[in-house]
Every structure is written in structure tokens, then in C-alpha cells.
Amino acid sequence: MNPRTADDAASQLRRLLIAIPALADDSPHRIADLAILVGVSEGTLAKDLRTLVTRFDDGPGGFVEGVRLAFSTDSVQLESTFFRRPMGLTPSELGAIELGLAALARELPPHEAAVAERAKERVVRAAAGLTLHTDRGPVHAARLVASERDGLHLSLLRTAISSRRKAEIEYRSVSSPAGSIRSVHPYGLLHSNGHWFLIGHCERAESIRIFRLDRMVAAKMLAEPADIPDDVDVEATLRNGRATVTNAEDVLRVQYSPRIARWIAEHQSVETQHDGSVIVDHPLLDDDWAVRHVLQYGPDAEVLEPPRVREMVRERLELVLSAHVR
């Protein structure tokens, strides 16, 4: 059996079982509308429908005998006694929705988490026909926020963005480790490399800032309306805004060994050396951060610049060696 052909038949079946119930109400439908509903191109949809009704022999009919299909230039009409309801949710479709609901239930505040739990029970009932799959456990699990607190903040910031209100956050950063209170006009949220970020206009800094969710100690929505440009594009803001955020004057220059070069290159642009090692320039905001960053790679990372950070790394290593418990 050619798996490619099986896949195609499977995809066609999925599409037809959505298209036919939408079509089979004895009135013409625009092919363009139907294609959007099914989520494919008009050409694919028309081909699926033609494949369904084309017979090559004069043998006994099958279900297609009872199907009448009429194409005009941009519309299609179909009559059928079968497939006038969509097929119920399949185990994998149910699994996907359950996964989303279970992930939400674990990150939302309790009253919303309860809604997610209720919705999950309903969806399972809508798929109650799956009698063959009584032993199914979850195939996937997911966590998109690091902690319950981040989940609460995420939910609150979403509300602030959609209701266009300002947010007040208590934020810990390298420049203010004790935390500072900021009023932010929230533009949008971004998820990258396992972290959520808020992008917005910070009143204190009087410019666009990017805030990491897991560094927010507290967050609340203010009554004041937020000033959010209508055409804000979070991704573009991030690209343009990065320069204003990392306004570091110093550069931390690190050489990573060939052994870990591949993993470093996964995350950032690198300058590859003849021996396979890579050199990366990081914006240097905080010497303590720099030392911790380099030490986590052990002998696989070496500070090249600046000399004062080199010296700090050496001193800390001496401390580790002297603290060694025998």
C-alpha cells in the first residue's frame, strides 16, 4: 500500500465529511464560501467532489447512486440522503481540544479554569460515540506558562489589551532587582523560547519596552484607558523595539567550544571560528548576569571581553574551589 495515497484518501474523506453536510440542503452554494468553511482551496474542493461522484463501471451503485451533484461556474448543489450531519469528533480531534482546555485549566484563575473543565466535559459528550476508544489516555500534555502567577498575569494582561486599558506592573529587572512599579499601555503579548513577554509603552521610560512575564511580581488593570495605536504590530514592534530595550554600551564577547557550538547557534547568530568554536557578542547590561551566563557552560564558554568580567569569572571560580566540601 502506498502511504501517500492513503493519506490523500484520508484527507479527502475528512474534507468531504465537512463539505457534504454544508452542501446537502437542496440549494446552491458558492464554491468560494464552501472552500473557506472546509479550509481548502476552491480547486481542491471541486476536485474532491468530482472524485466522489465519478464512476467508471456500470455495476451496482453504492451510495453515490443516490447523490446528485450540479456544478455551475461558481456554485455547486448537491442532494444526498447520507452525510447530512458532519461526522462526530474523532479521537485525535477530541484529544486536541481536550489538550487546549486542559492547558488553559492549569493556567487560568479558578473561575475561568472551572469553565474550561465544564467545556471539556461537554466536548467529551459531543464525542460520546467513540465507544471503541474507551481506554484512551492523553497523548499530549502542555504547559505554556511557567507558574500559576504568570498565568494570572497573562489572563489579566489579555483583558487589559482587549478592553484597551492601562496595566500597572511591579517589575524586577537587572537594573532594579528590588522591583519597580510601571504604568504600561499594553500593545500585545509575545511567546518566544518558552517565555511570555508584554510589549507596551512604558510611561516611566517614555518609550516602548518589552517585559518578561516571569519577572512581574504583580500586575493589575487600571481604570484609565490605554493609548494603543490602531495599527500596532507586535512582531514588528519587537523587531524595531529591541534596540531601545538593549541600550547597553558594553559588549560581552564569549567564545563557545566546538562541543556546544551547535546548541548556541540554535538560538542566536554566531561567528564561527576555524576550530569549530563560535564567538557571540551579547549586550552587557549587568556584570553579575554575564558571570552567571558564562559559568553555566563551564569550560565550554570563555569570556573574551571585557577584561573586568574575565577577572570576575576567575574570582568566582576560585570561590567555588575554596568552598569545595571534602
Binding site: 453515490v64 469528533l89 460515540g129 511567546h191
Partner: protein, 369 residues
Amino acid sequence: MPSAKRPAKVQRWMDVIAAFLRFRFPISFEQLAAEVPAYADPDQADDARMRMFERDKDELRELGVPIETVAGEEGGFSSYRLKSRAFYLPYLMTADDGAAAAPPIRPKGPGYQDLPILSFEPDEIAMIARAATRVQHMQHAMLAADAATAVRKLAFDIPLAIDGDSAREVILQPSHASDHDVLELLDTAVRRRKLVDFDYRSMERDAHSRRGVQPYGLIFLSGIWYLVAHDVTANALRHFRVSRMSRVVINSAKAQSHDFEIPSDFDLWSHTLSRQAWEMGDADATHVSVRFDPSNRFAAAGAELGDADPEHSDCRRFVVRRPDAFVRWLLSFGGSAVPVAPSTIVDALHEVASNTVALYLAATQEHST
């Protein structure tokens, strides 16, 4: 008959499903063949036609069409059934339409009259839309497609759409995203409880090794997919980064039967709680006791990740599956986090610190000469 003249496979499948829906009781293969032209092909031998049906039945079940096999009495032939209630989507309603809502218009034809009606609260519908949108963010093409199809089906009756306001919420795809074909293979292996072999390159050893595992589930954590699996050789539960797997092969023997069972006390969701790098490893678990300097703010924060240590009251205890990652994490505290036990970790930290400081001493000597 030339294959080009055969009806398309999807047509045969539709014939099969329609034939089952026409009958309310289990039918034999011969009864089915009378309704499905492809199974009545006079040019084909009986057993070839039967084999074709067996394959179709397995594939349709795989696609979620719940065809039941009813065993024949006293060794007689099996019969088959597809209940319309199990095949069609029930009728769905929004709960706040209340008593004023008209009952659904049921089309004429077999199977529609006894479909149940289910009602959804408006907040539940909104939550389902959010859930489906969430799944689009999980960097898993098949899951995203399944969630989208589920929404399309439910949207026949209830107002539901995947949230399209993406300008305000962006998920950046990492450059080290997992291969979608690998994820799909692993999904299948988990569902069918089939053994899987793969090449795995781990950062610590920077080497490929062939692994054989019983796959229990997949977890998406901090933007990364992991396979949670029972490693057969190590006889222990392990986490493997999907993006570091290659040459993934599912055991093809006895495709329709399970190779193993997942222990009843296994809880996939509990694995989403452990998220430190040293907990997500493929080695045995070790308990490590560490003393932190509370006056150092980084060390104080690090201490919070551990548990109370029953043996050393001034220490925190960690469960470590990747000693190498844990030792490097300790090193990053620069002397403010000191391991006290076991000696393997104590010595490993000393060794890695010695090797690292050598870099700086050697270079300093170079500069001074």
C-alpha cells in the same frame, strides 16, 4: 481491470460508511459487498476482496470511524456495524437560547432521527475557541489541524471560530523546532502503544546513541516538545527532546496490537510540572543536597527550586536526572551554592571548576609571557 478505472479509494470508503448507516443491525461482509461496488468486483478473488475490506476497516477506524466487529456465533463469520449515533455529530445548541429555541430540523434519511441534542453555555463555547487557538501555538502541525477541524465541525451548530486576532498575540517559532514528521510518528506510536527506536544526540555526551523505548506521551514545555517514555534498556522513565531525535522507527510487527501497556498510575500531566533542565534528563534520578548562601539574591532564588532536605537541615534537596546540567547550574552561582552530597556531584563540581579556571589561568600566562 486497469487500476485507473477503479473507483477512487475515498469513494469506496464513502460507499462503506453509507452502507453501514443504511442498516441498523450488524451486517455480514457479503451484505456489505452488495452495497459497495468495489467489493463486488467479479475479477477479484473472494479472499482478495475480503482483505481489501479488512484494510479499509482498519484505516477507517484509524481515522475515527467507529466500525464495530460483532463475533459470529460458534465460530461463524463475524458481522460488522457502524451506529449512526456513534458516527454523526450530535445536535448542539447554545444553552441561553432557552426554551424559545426551535428544535433542530432533522433531514429525512437514515440515522438522523435519534441523534441526541447537547447544549453548551456561551462561556464554554468561548473557552473552546480559546483552547483551539492555544493548540495552534504548540508548534505541532497535526494537533493544530485536528483542533481546526474539530472547530469546523462544532461550528455547524454553535458560533465558534479560532481566534484570528494574531497581531496582538504572537508566538515566535524557534529555529530548533521539532520535525513534524517525527512528532506525527511519535503520536501514532503513543496511540497504538508501539515500541519506538531512534537515534538520540544528547548535549552532555555530544554523541548519537540508538534508544529503544515504550512511548507514554508527549509534553510541550517552555516551547519544546519532549517524549516521556520508558527506556527499555535502563528500565526507567526518561524524557527525550523530540528535536534531538532522528531515524525514528515504529515497531511494525503486529501493527494492530499493543506492544506494552501504560501503567495505570502514570500521569502525563504531572510531567509538565517538572521543568528545570536537570530534571528533564535521560539518566537515573539522584538526590542532591545543596547549601545556599541566603545573602546572595541569586542563590536565595535558586534555593526555592529545591525541597526541604530531611538529612541536612541547612540544605535544599534536588532530584537530578542530568547531573552535568545540574553541576553547571551550581557553578553559575560562583561559590554561593555548595553541594554537600553525594560525593559524585561534589567532585564533579570541583572538576568542572578546575577545568574552567584553567582556561583563564592559561590565557593569563600567555598574555604575560
